[in-house]
Amino acid sequence: MSTQTPVRGHYASEDPLWVKVVVVTLVALFLTLLLILPLVTVFSEALKRGVGPALEALGTYDAVSAIKLTLTAAAIAVPLNAVFGVCAAWAIAKHEFPGKSILISLIDLPFSVSPVVAGLIYVLVFGAQGWFGEFLLEHDWRIIFALPGIVLATIFVTFPFVARELIPLMQAQGAAEEEAAVSMGAGGLTTFWRVTAPNIRLGLLYGVLLCNARAMGEFGAVSVVSGHIRGLTDTMPLHVEILYNEYDFVGAFAVAGLLCLLALLTLVAKTVLEMLHPGVKTRSAH
């Protein structure tokens, strides 16, 4: 660690080469064990008996309906989340009001609630023994063990995604451009669409991307409200569990592989976005 004899081009804020090599090697080893090997496992298990059986597993009726259900739930939850995120960020970043920091903490709350608890709360509210249980039974409306419950649980676990992305971004941008637009006579919607929206486009896309990955991949919360009815209320991650527990490893890993590809696609899109627009990556993790 000593820098007694300064080498040319060696800055005070730079680590010696041997430190760099050791640290990078350690990190690479750690990440290989923790992240890369599981990733490789998924594809190697899925393709253990070749491409055919894997594709076959994806083509079964149950798998296809699981894929459809996952896409449907995400298609409802993600846009709603985006609308919420934009509204919350507009109120919080462009205006001053008391209790703002409490509101921000409350929006973040779903991140610190166990997914299982997230599912549980809807069972307690809409389940057969729940607050609205009898009312729902009388009208034959199904929320728990049906699509609405799955959508609600998905919205809960992804709730803060877009808002968390947009609030710091819009706070950093300040309100001057909106004030300029308003002072020139622009109304609220005009100001949003013509001045704010172009500035937050990429941040919104980034938030939606992460939100979508979580929405399609959610397991714990959805598992509690789904009822695991094959071909009806099984999402892709739940289908993975069922196949795995039935020792259909090729099938389980084939569906898992599809989810994995989705995750990798998300990461690539995210990296591209960050390269296009370095400011899009906000300060804190999710």
Binding site: A180, S183, M184, G185, A186, N199
Partner: protein, 345 residues
């Protein structure tokens, strides 16, 4: 061209517990170029934003031609506002930025496309940016951005032009040339103009009248000449222009601070501060004895730094040939031509 009279009546505004404006009243004449001058935190920007409709007071009124607009929207007031950091729309071209205010109008109010384009061209010419309409703000220099912001604010034909520290983000040379530009544009358009600045030189050079704010209150309003020569308070005297400040006391019409004595007609007995501008000190046979520590030649002026016998720092400035024969270390006599003496506030 415009004949808007603005009247500010007893305006107060607090941010949390911090009072930004405290009972401010001010009348602005049609066609006037007024500077709001003060240190940071004096409330000058809050006052400007209250006139614009970007901030709303807790108390008091803003009248445009006698009509109460205190809580009217910025749009309804038809003001032009130039932001400190310009707030140009980064994703729009210069021309689109300038056209914005006309473009967002609806129905019959919206001028035809050709008229908007003509107006943009006219404004670009006014601020000497002809031909740059297709550029994006990021492709312009700071001074050019400022001109775009100015013409964008003018595009809607505002009843009053409001500028928040318009030259704050620019370097010294650009500041000076843009200052002249603003005066020229004001004279050409005749629009009532109010700008905020913390730079007293800028305020004195540019404005018809200067309103000096301190801690949310107006200390003095007057022409540059008035506020410089007859400052109404110790704060104004210290803030506008340079001055030597001596702390002492007044007894029977005479101010004394150690070896310094000055005439103080009409000032009540008691502790007081005396301000003497450097150029109000002249070499003389009889006067304040000052030991010279340094002499600096600045163009046509000579600036002298020194101390009185009891250690008070004194700065004097006079014509260059006045210091002939003066050397550091020697003691010279300086006569006080004019002093401003204020009781403590």
């Amino acid at each position: 061209m415009t004949d808007l009279t603005i009247s500010i009546q007893d305006l107060s505004k607090k941010f949390g517990r911090y009072p930004a404006l405290n009972g401010v009243s001010l009348d602005i004449a049609p066609g006037e170029l007024l500077a709001l001058l003060g240190p940071s935190g004096s409330g000058k920007t809050t006052l400007l934003r209250s006139i614009a409709g970007l901030e709303f007071p807790d108390q008091g009124k803003v009248l445009f031609d006698g009509e109460d607009v205190t809580f009217a929207s910025a749009a309804a007031r038809r003001v032009g506002f130039v932001f400190q950091q310009y707030a140009l729309f980064a994703h729009m071209t210069v021309a689109k930025n300038i056209a914005f205010g006309l473009d967002v109008r609806k129905g019959a109010d919206k001028p035809p496309k050709a008229a908007i384009e003509a107006r943009v061209e006219e404004l670009l010419k006014l601020v000497e940016l002809d031909g740059l309409g297709k550029r994006f703000p990021s492709q312009l220099s700071g001074g050019q951005r400022q001109r775009v912001a100015l013409s964008r604010a003018l595009a809607v034909g505002p009843r009053v032009l409001l500028l928040d520290e318009p030259f704050g983000a620019l370097d010294a040379t650009v500041r000076k040339s843009l200052r002249k530009e603003l005066r020229r544009i004001h004279d050409a358009t005749g629009v009532t103009t109010i700008f905020v600045t913390h730079d007293q030189e800028e305020a004195l050079e540019l404005a018809d009248r200067v309103a000096i704010l301190n801690l949310g209150e107006i200390e003095q309003v007057g022409t540059p000449h008035e506020v410089y020569d007859s400052p109404a308070s110790a704060f104004v005297c210290g803030f506008v222009g340079e001055a030597n400040r001596f702390e002492g006391a007044v007894t029977k019409g005479r101010f004394t601070a150690g070896s310094i004595t000055l005439a103080a007609k009409g000032v009540a007995d008691g502790p007081a501060s005396a301000f003497v501008r450097p150029h109000d000190l002249h070499p003389a046979k009889d006067g304040l004895a000052v030991k010279v520590s340094r002499i600096v030649l600045q163009g046509p002026l000579a600036k002298l730094d020194g101390h009185t016998a009891d250690g008070r720092h004194v700065e004097a400035a006079f014509a260059r040939d006045g210091v002939e024969g003066f050397n550091p270390g020697m003691t010279v006599k300086l006569a006080v031509q004019k002093a401003h003496i204020y009781p403590p506030t």
